[in-house]
Symmetry: C2
Subunit: 141 residues, 2 copies
Amino acid sequence: MKARSQPQDEQHLTEQLGATGLRLTPQRQQVYDVLLHKRDHPTAEEVFIRAKKAMPEISHATVYNCLDALVKSGLARQVTLDRGATRYCPNMHEHGHFHCSSCETVFDVDLPAQAMKLPKGFKAEHFDIAIHGICPDCDSK
Amino acid sequence: MKARSQPQDEQHLTEQLGATGLRLTPQRQQVYDVLLHKRDHPTAEEVFIRAKKAMPEISHATVYNCLDALVKSGLARQVTLDRGATRYCPNMHEHGHFHCSSCETVFDVDLPAQAMKLPKGFKAEHFDIAIHGICPDCDSK
DNA sequence: GGTTAGTTTAGAATTATTCTAAATCTTGAC
DNA sequence: GTCAAGATTTAGAATAATTCTAAACTAACC
């Protein structure tokens, strides 16, 4: 129901963006709100449509800019599956994505947080895991 | 050095494609050869450019068609990183991708083949793991 | 209160991918 | 062998996703 973030979120936003040398603007706030409000891994286009409801003047380029700002500041992640548009996810917990091949829904799934062993010398900054399969709902149909 | 697959590869190709109801065509052979020849995770556009050298009449749409055919038949995998073009990989071993944030190179890395635990009811068909970080080469510079 | 740097905007441009309709090839039935 | 049916390829148009551009706006700072 809420259309805006709570004050503590705003504080957090300002800090995280600030640490990357970026400002908190109404647009970035709005885009972040959209991500938090419905965590269904929307595409940039979807975010644009949703953000427009509260902020009709917002532009396409701004949505991309805001999403990039959020990603750079560690407030959201990009989720790329197959050849379609990139999706966005505000869940910064270490997690993977389960993509149902039937209904196309994307679910967050916990990871065994296992030490993903890498060859000597490689330094991992973060990883994205995309699992493709069938979700319980589709499986029972 | 070799520009063509060996006979046993051809056999394999025919079988794998056949199992999916697809034919082995010179174009599909060529596209597969390109993938095998230089395993640097090329984009469809890259594959197109390389395939053209041996087969100048090949078209863009055909390259996409062939890549899709190979992916459907389990001969290649799609690799999607960030927002750019999709890349292709003929390594069908269970593995993840390490993406160097500095030089952009994509490395295949073995997985602990661990039982990626999923919530009850989810059935995994396959997964893609993309690891972002710094490769040894870039790290030493 | 003016300067500077960061941000937003609309719309154009570019890039990636898919679609279309016609031409070509393959295969299997006769 | 020959023909119809279906699969595949082709060039180019169309669409979708993303980035770029230049001008206008905003906020912070001296």
